[in-house]
């Protein structure tokens, strides 16, 4: 009889483009779990399903368990097994553990260093625990993966800096105002990028938001969605002094905020800085406004450059992170091998080791 093995099988954004990943998304995880209950030799299982990956982490009595998981999944998704063979990842042993470490750390993410995946891995593990399909090996591997992820996020620059325009804008505001709780934000224009930025501000604690748009109905609709007030577009100059942050994203053919209007507003509030974020093309704000005292003007290119620099800085950290994670994976794998060699404990509810599990 062969030795039980840790494995991961699945598909990720690396090999599966968006239109393929759409077909890979699990419609019903519980139904699949029902299918996998009949897989012979499957001892433990956790399912990680996000918009960028579907992965099955498990422990099987032999290589055949992996084939069975793959077949059951393709059958459930009505996905061509041959196509899945071409895009899949299939790793065992230490490499499978290392892969989980890299996934949890955000190293394998489309947006390197992003934090959301950590929560998604935690949810996948919690679901496996709730279903009773996480045993001694997966428990250890996932716990160590969480520790490793926290370690690299704390001790490397993999998660430093914001990498999306909206988050860079919010970070920028924090560099000026510190806490955003007391900052007053005016959203000028109802464009998608402006709305996204407004939501990012709201999620970081900005509570005093107002929307001014050239189309009052659309502005009112956006304001309602954001829980914000509305300002008449024609009053934008006269009301400018009331705000600390102005996010512009109109589709106007010419500037809608002049340097003179901003200078007038600053005379009414000289000691308080004003952050103007111009996300519009063509630009909404006269460039010379950036020369005014206490005015910080950033346009779309500026934010994109900062995001790109942060992204490059993260990329530079990947090799260092991989080395740290590999070291930890080696340590973990030694202990897991000893555990597997001594024979895995029977899965709860399955009777003895080697019998079919009910994941």
């Amino acid at each position: 009889m062969s030795e039980p093995r840790l494995f991961v099988i699945g598909a990720t954004h690396h090999n599966a483009p968006l239109e393929v990943r759409e077909r890979l998304v699990l419609e019903s995880e519980s139904a699949l779990r029902g299918d996998l209950a009949a897989v012979p030799g499957l001892l433990e299982l956790a399912v990680l399903c996000t918009c960028n990956r579907v992965e099955f982490y498990g422990v099987g009595t032999d290589e055949g368990a992996l084939d069975h998981v793959q077949s059951a999944y393709c059958a459930r998704q009505n996905f061509d097994p041959a196509e899945f063979e071409r895009i899949r990842i299939r790793l065992t042993g230490r490499e499978a553990a290392l892969h989980l470490f890299e996934v949890a750390s955000g190293l394998d993410s489309q947006l390197v260093g992003e934090n959301e995946i950590f929560g998604q891995v935690k949810e996948a593990y919690a679901a496996a625990q709730a279903c009773g399909t996480a045993g001694a090996v997966l428990n250890r591997v996932f716990q160590k993966a969480f520790q490793a992820a926290k370690h690299v996020r704390t001790h490397t620059g993999i998660a430093s800096g914001r990498v999306s325009v909206a988050n860079v804008a919010v970070e920028l505001a924090a560099n000026i105002f510190g806490s955003l709780a007391g900052a007053r934000v005016l959203i000028l224009g109802t464009g998608e990028i402006g709305e996204g930025t407004a939501r990012a501000f709201k999620s970081r604690g900005a509570a005093d938001l107002a929307v001014a748009g050239r189309t009052p109905e659309r502005a009112a609709e956006l304001a309602t969605g954001l829980g914000a007030a509305t300002v008449h577009f024609d009053e934008r100059d006269s009301r400018l002094a009331d705000f600390d942050i102005v996010v512009c994203s109109t589709a106007a053919p010419a500037a809608v905020l002049s340097a003179a209007a901003i200078a007038r507003a600053m005379r009414a509030r000289p000691a308080r800085p004003l952050l103007v974020i111009d996300l519009a093309l063509p630009r909404d704000v006269e460039a010379s406004a950036g020369d005014l005292q206490n005015v910080f003007l950033y346009n779309l290119d500026d934010l994109a450059k900062i995001a790109e620099a942060n992204r490059a800085a993260r990329e530079d950290e990947i090799a260092r992170c991989r080395a740290l994670l590999a070291e930890r994976a080696d340590g973990l794998w030694g202990s897991v091998q000893r555990h597997l060699a001594s024979g895995p404990a029977p899965h709860p509810g399955t009777g003895a080791a080697g019998q079919a599990t009910a994941p």
Binding site: G157, N175, I176, G178, P270, A271, A313
Partner: protein, 282 residues
Amino acid sequence: MFADLSDRQWLWCAAGFYTAGLILGTVSLLRGQRTSGVLIYGAIVAGYILQNVGLAIRGHATGGCPLGNRFEIFQFTAWSAITLYVAVGVTFRSSVLGYFTSCLGAALTILSLSIPSWDAVRRTHIFGGNPWIELHAALAIFSYGVFGLLALTSGLFLLRHFSLKSKRLGGWFSFLPSILDLDHIEVRLLGAGVALLTLALAFGTVYWSRDTATVNHAKLVATLAVWAASAAALGLRAMGRLLARRFAWACLALFAAALLSLKAVDDSRHPATAEAQERGAP
């Protein structure tokens, strides 16, 4: 073993800890990592405790607050800035400020310890047993320490301002506090400095008004100029006339002026009335 240490040896140890904070911060910054606030704060507190011991020994020997020569004045100025940082620095939530404070502490203490001539003449009982004059001098030099911390904060403000205007937010600049927080801290420190210096001058005026002959004119003009400049900066800031970068530069200039005025203060010691103790270079 420790009982045998002289005041200068204790002060050298203190300078060593301030320098350790400086090195820790510099290494972290060169590696592009956030400086450890706890480690730097620990180094500063350790240095501060040792400096207290050194100054206490010196104060015991001189029979009062140790402000009798340029060495002692620089040591007391550093002690004042660090006292304020140790007391309220944590609320600034900025490990970078801790780093800059350790830089200031190291610079002032090592500079004063490295120039033997500054400590060649030790004057004792310079306040003639008058506690009001001693309080006047201590408050005045303490306010200079506050101006020192203000200068550090202003330096951070200028760096943050540069990073925001030049659109460089990554690397070292990402560790700086927000520009609004720095501005608020600047105003509070300047207010505290002006209040302390005003009190110091008030105590001095009460004493000197009884005996104007003892007033050293150069010292009087220098300290009044520092006081007037700092009060003017605070007033202009309150009126919205001196803001942002200009305000930060003004605060830096104030500290430079305060340090320059120390020469007039030091030169004002009246050799005839003080019990001068000539000693060789330590």
